[in-house]
Symmetry: C2
Subunit: 414 residues, 2 copies
């Protein structure tokens, strides 16, 4: 079954705001075997929206329309769907009562224009929206001789997503042929995207019944496998079989077989080894710490660390001897190693990580160019140091360095 998602709202036709709900809706639709064939973004103009709805109904079987259900005069979705289908719109007494009840709970008078949200399209089922005042609507209609399923859902993500999942997806599932979906997400670190694809394409291309998607960002590769069958066990078996072959091919680049983030894996290994970690960051400026502390419970293994931007702080917080900085420069393998050792000794952690480099765009020299970084990992006995020269802008250098540092810890503990 093919679907189209229409996002309604002039703000999404500015340079500042983008539809993001559709990624979530796509995931939920794919899970029940519905593909998204088109996405459209339309402004708050009646003529444009009516025509976009008719186009969508003409080319797909299922149309999800997000936004334009609020109380303002710019909120036109209800009127436009009714017009596109040639159906009437009536103000529903139950919905009026619900709006009054909601306003009473909030202890504020209800503005007249709010009543617009009680308008229901002829034949539509009202979909309750516990997180907002505008309910969704569901239509099962005939358009140009074909059966069409239409969902109207509110635009704000905290209203759109729960309503779509609890009210729309079950209604679609009940009407569609039974399909079971199996998925797996594998993740790999620091393998170039082109190399990953060259390695994996011959493997996943042989599984025409499994859809494989590759995403790459700053040294992180995510592979998503999806298989739909009429039998759950068969779908799972196909996905697991392909995943197994890909895992083997990825060797130790693979860090996750089930979608965990690299920081989750690092914290998992730290817990497993009953090890603790402290970090001393210069050019990454706290990015390693920030990634690790995204994870709830990270405090069990991650003690913390120092952001040592100045040379003085490299000495006072990370214990780097001042003469070492003088002799080798702040960006050097020696200083990275001393940072790793110093922060470990200072904090009593099992592992110490030290990062120093030149993120740019300024600060580079002929011998130490922008992008040059040193990462050192101290395990209480010995120190391993990596030198890399990343290309790209300041943010890219910082992101790649952070990813490589986390991957070094993973490889150490594996």
């Amino acid at each position: 079954m093919k679907s189209e998602i229409i996002a309604v709202g002039s703000e999404m036709l500015t340079p500042f705001r983008q539809d993001t709900n559709s990624l979530y809706l796509t995931e939920k639709l794919n899970e029940i075997g519905v593909t998204v064939a088109f996405k459209s973004i339309v402004g708050d103009r009646r003529k444009d929206l009516v025509s976009a709805i008719r186009i969508a109904l003409g080319r797909t079987d299922i149309v999800a329309i997000m936004g334009g259900l609020g109380p303002t005069e710019d909120d036109l979705t209800r009127e436009c769907v009714a017009e596109a289908l040639g159906l009437a719109l009536h103000r529903d007494a139950t919905q009026i009562a619900a709006l009054h009840a909601r306003a009473a709970t909030w202890r504020r008078p209800m503005a007249e224009n709010n009543l617009k949200q009680a308008d229901v399209i002829e034949g539509a089922t009202v979909l309750p929206n516990p997180n907002g005042s505008a309910p969704g609507q569901w239509l099962d209609v005939t358009f140009a001789g074909y059966r069409k399923l239409i969902a109207l859902v509110p635009g704000p993500p905290n209203e759109c997503r729960p309503l779509f999942e609890t009210e729309v997806i079950p209604r679609l599932r009940a009407l569609l042929p039974v399909r079971f979906i199996a998925t797996r997400t594998l993740k790999a670190a620091m393998i170039p995207e082109s190399q990953a694809d060259q390695l994996l394409a011959p493997i996943y291309n042989a599984y025409t019944d499994v859809e494989t998607t590759i995403l790459a960002h700053a040294g992180d590769i995510q592979l998503t496998l999806l298989c739909a069958k009429t039998n759950q066990q068969e779908a799972q078996q196909r996905v697991d079989e392909l995943a197994g072959k890909m895992e083997e091919a990825l060797e130790d680049w693979l860090y996750s077989s089930d979608g965990e983030s690299l920081e989750q894996i690092v914290l998992f290994y730290l817990g497993l080894r009953q090890a603790t970690l402290a970090v001393a960051e210069s050019c990454t400026g706290g990015m390693v710490s920030e990634r690790l502390t995204r994870i709830s419970g990270s405090s069990r293994s991650f003690l913390g660390g120092a952001v040592v931007y100045s040379n003085d702080l490299k000495t006072s917080l990370a214990g780097v001897p001042a003469r070492l900085i003088e002799a080798h420069g702040a960006v050097s393998a020696e200083v990275a190693a001393a940072m790793a050792q110093g922060i470990s000794q200072h904090t009593g952690s099992t592992l110490g990580l030290g990062i120093t480099g030149i993120a740019g765009p300024t600060g580079g020299t002929a011998s130490k160019p922008v992008g040059l970084v040193y990462i050192a990992l101290f395990d209480g006995k010995k120190t391993e140091t990596i030198e890399r020269n990343f290309s790209g802008d300041r943010n890219r250098v910082r992101e790649w360095t952070t990813q490589l540092a986390l991957d070094m810890i993973r490889r150490k503990l594996r």
Copy 2:
């Protein structure tokens, strides 16, 4: 003039990848007075793409089509535009030579399928693409009796954006009525979005010739003003006049009158006051440091700091007396103040910032719930402490806390 942007590629109809180029294209089109009336995302299917192109040509004057210009069999944009317009496609000798020359530079043999990229639509101008092998194309045609301008641009952002700006925008500008655009971006911190809109709507609504866009994220409000006139001075005057009134209304919530980020402003004030900053972060886990060090040159005023997740580190790196933690708990105004003082004394910074809180989702108690944070700022003499209780998930609590902390520093130095 109305335009439509079509993004071509099945990967943008998965839950994993989104078109982002269109935000950039929209900005550039708006600057020359072209509004974007529709955005469409279409997969790599010939029938779908031909019909989407025809729909776009039927409802707008200018159509930008991104992607689908590569060498694979999924790259169908050239064929589909030719088919939609009923024009021929011919393999261009100059383009074949250019492809061979490019392959030679890279010292690799050219695969046969690359030649597809030399196909040019009848009557099209080839747009050189210095960053990739697929050139763009430009068409000035009649469709259903109306003049239409069509640009085909490659999908990868590093190819799409420069080509659009240097090849497409000047061609459009030459054909469109002369319009001058003036813009301004104001920014405010920690004012609730609804309050900002209530305050500002009566002001900006009186300027019907200036388009005002409000964006809000985690305590950061961005207001973009845009005015198009046939006279540059008049456009600038209208924007400046409205901006002036809005600045006045925003009082000291306003932190930027020209689009700078909050971290840029904080670093600017630190430089101005010849002050230095060090931070001790617990629940934000390095997020404050990470934001400040995004800015090149931040090392002049930002010394660094400590990420003190464990109580021991609060003591050893930020100098918080262990008995203070025992007496008041790690999440307390007293400990935040001691962190601010300790890190300032430890590093010799003019200002010291201390942050402690419960980001959640676990770790909350009845008296100290998830979302409770304390932020302290020490200026060498006295310490100011703020207590807040943020709602939302772990990431939201961390983002709001970081924003409030940066804003405290700004207000201190202003």
